[in-house]
């Protein structure tokens, strides 16, 4: 029996689901390994009977939380798909302000009192609401990594993400270090698996795959000092996908 797979989206750009569509003819191979029973962005067919649920997006409202908990109940395996689901991603940038401040700024003139659609709390990653079995990081996800991880889950294996930094892949690609080009990079502390795609196009890593479990932040700070990058600039970069209140 092929495992039954469902895709669900919450607050996001839906680019990670689009990466699945972007597999082009490889999707046809994927359909050989798994049965897709729900994928609202691309299919009208839908079933609540599934084994593996892929969750894209961050969680922003009580109604979304409720929906996510139902999905968790239905699914044997729950996979967080992409930065918004795995770590909150750019959606967490809003948590710099309180909900009241954001609402005041945003809905000044509109009457939204008591309207559930606008009832937001500070952005949460998926694992701040339910248990997550596996993570497929990145903004957007890497198509090849997606296929690899899905294939492993489909045959009952536990996929593992790289435990080394983006720098390893960047070196392997024989890139000039972008710091040498006068740019900023989070490669030293960010989890690899993207084939160092941004530095390979002479743009610094933005940390979209999340930091390593044991990031060497002091080394990153040394690098920044060496290249004369200000603390303010560094914080802006660190926060882009990995917003945290306070300092690192």
């Amino acid at each position: 029996m092929k495992p039954r797979v469902a895709f669900f989206d919450f607050a996001s750009c839906e680019g990670c689901q689009l990466q699945v569509v972007n597999l082009e003819e490889k999707i046809l191979d994927l359909i050989d390994v798994v049965e897709i029973v729900s994928f609202r962005e691309a299919m009208k067919e839908h079933s609540d009977d599934y084994d593996i649920a892929f969750i894209e997006g961050s969680i922003q409202r009580p109604m979304d939380e409720e929906r996510l908990k139902k999905i968790r109940k239905n699914a044997k395996i729950l996979v967080a798909l992409g930065a918004c689901a795995c770590i909150g991603g750019v959606n967490k940038l809003r948590n710099e302000w309180t909900v009241d401040q954001v609402k005041e700024e945003v809905y000044k003139d509109a009457d939204i009192e008591g309207n559930d659609l606008f009832d937001v709390f500070p952005t949460k990653a998926v694992d701040e609401v339910v248990d997550v079995d596996f993570y497929i990081p990145g903004c957007p996800i890497n198509r090849n990594e997606f296929v690899k991880i899905v294939s492993q889950i489909a045959i009952g294996r536990k996929p593992k993400l790289p435990s080394y930094p983006v720098c390893v892949e960047c070196k392997k690609n024989e890139n000039i270090c972008v710091f040498e080009l006068g740019k900023f990079c989070l490669g030293p502390v960010t989890r690899a698996g993207c084939d160092a795609i941004c530095p390979s196009f002479q743009d610094g890593c933005e940390g979209c795959r999340g930091f390593l479990d044991d990031p060497k932040m002091n080394c990153q700070k040394d690098v920044l000092r060496k290249y004369g990058i200000t603390l303010d600039e560094m914080m802006k970069r660190l926060n882009m996908f990995n917003y945290k209140k306070g300092v690192y």
């Binding site: 003819e25 795609i197 882009m240």
Partner: protein, 431 residues
């Protein structure tokens, strides 16, 4: 008395984002017809405040996965206008090429994967893999080619890497451009074949007309995507800086996305709007596709938007080869992006697959964004979708429930709504 009909399509499928259709009749009359958007609001304009000029396009591209190249370019154009940064001709040509890649990607996805199942009587493209394999393979080829062009120009298809303020971090090689040009020429033939398949099933597109206003960019020398003035089929031409006079946004209770109006109750943006405004600048090959369907300006049938997208796929293919020819004859150069940080306000208006997109930033003397506003194509279309629904609803009375549902679903799908874009949502007023 006929029985009351109550249709509630919760989370319409085969569209980007979350929207619902409600249709009720009472005593043989339409009592309620609503296009509802319940996507979670995301507040982009609130949280780009305080971010550095060079981060803005990388953050705002995340408004939308399907049109991330368009968002990046509108963002860069706004930033460059605010800081008075000049770009080279080569940069402009490469950016136009990037937009073509995205336009083809988005349109082939919409026509091939999202609309075609309705024309061929299938719930999705999945069963079509078995019943219409050849047609599916053609669409996959076009989609893949489009993504290849985006990868070449932007580093990757979703959330571009190479696009930056002032130019590019990296550019394709001449060899890569020659290779992609070869494939683009092959793509024209495939597009012609796809158009033939759509034409054979075009009788499924409802013949519905409602006169409305169409808004888009226009310029004097080519079919406008990357730059131009704002134009209306009701007449008038305005510089992009005047966008707030055109897109008058307002809030309705059933939607976390704003609606817009200009001259009438609502207006439409997107491929059909562009075609209606700029038909004369289409390439001959694209005009030939339009003629197959008898599509001429000004067409007031929103269902024809999908056909206009097909016309634009052909146009993007042909224009891309012309741009590549020009780039190759000039010779590609590595350029340095040197600029000064300057305070100012700037507007970027770009045509993205779903229509005209505006980004508007105010930047301080340290290069940080202090105010932002983005007006998204789908926001501008929500009002027109609602008005179309109200106009078509009475004509559906007495039809089987399934048919009513499908006709309304197809109407929304024709607009190719990008709902997560449209709930970026912020009611910013500039004083």
């Amino acid at each position: 008395m006929p029985e009351d009909v109550n249709i509630h399509v919760k989370h319409l499928t085969r569209v980007e984002g979350h929207g619902n259709i409600i249709f009720n009749t009472k005593n043989g009359k339409v009592s309620n017809v609503i296009w509802e958007v319940d996507e979670a609001p995301r507040f982009f304009e609130a949280f780009v405040r305080g971010k550095s000029y060079h981060q803005l396009s990388h953050i705002t591209s995340r408004i939308c996965g399907i049109c991330s190249i368009g968002h990046s370019l509108a963002s860069l154009r706004a930033t460059e206008a605010a800081m008075k940064v000049e770009i080279s001709e080569q940069t402009e040509l490469l950016r136009r090429l990037a937009l073509h890649g995205e336009n083809m990607q988005s349109h082939s996805l919409h026509v091939g994967y999202l609309v075609a199942p309705d024309l061929l009587g299938a719930p999705s493209v999945v069963p079509l893999v078995k019943t219409h394999r050849e047609a599916v393979v053609k669409i996959v080829r076009l989609h893949k080619l489009a993504n290849y062009l985006s990868d070449l120009t932007c580093g990757r298809t979703i959330h571009p890497i190479t696009l930056e303020v002032g130019g590019f971090t990296a550019i394709p090689t001449e060899k890569q451009l020659v290779e992609v040009r070869k494939q683009l020429v092959q793509g024209m033939e495939v597009t012609g074949e796809v158009a033939g398949i759509v034409l054979a099933n075009a009788d499924k597109l409802p013949d519905f007309q409602r006169e409305t206003e169409f808004i888009g960019l226009t310029n004097d020398d080519h079919y406008a995507y990357y730059k131009g003035d704002i134009a209306s089929t009701d007449g008038g031409r305005w510089p992009p800086e005047d966008y707030l006079k055109i897109a008058n946004e307002y809030v309705v209770p059933q939607s976390t996305a704003k609606h817009s109006k200009h001259n009438r109750d609502s207006y439409m943006v997107g491929a059909l709007a562009r075609l209606n405004l700029n038909y004369r600048h289409l390439t001959d090959e694209a005009k030939a596709v339009a003629e197959m369907f008898g599509l001429k300006p000004v067409c007031h049938n929103p269902y024809m938007n999908s056909v206009a997208q097909l016309v634009e796929i052909m146009d993007s293919l042909v224009d891309s080869t012309k741009i590549i020819n020009e780039l190759l004859s000039r010779g590609l150069k590595e350029e340095k992006n040197e600029m000064e940080i300057r305070a100012g306000r700037g507007v970027g208006a770009v045509e993205v697959p779903r229509g005209i997109l505006f980004h508007d930033y105010t930047i301080d003397k340290l290069g940080n964004c202090i105010k932002a506003n983005c007006i998204i194509p789908t926001n501008q279309n929500h009002g027109n979708i609602q008005k179309d629904m109200e106009a078509i609803a009475p004509t559906l009375l007495g039809k089987p429930e399934k048919e009513i549902e499908l006709t309304l679903e197809m109407l929304v799908r024709a607009y190719d709504p990008c709902i997560s874009c449209s709930t970026h949502y912020l009611n910013v007023k500039f004083k």
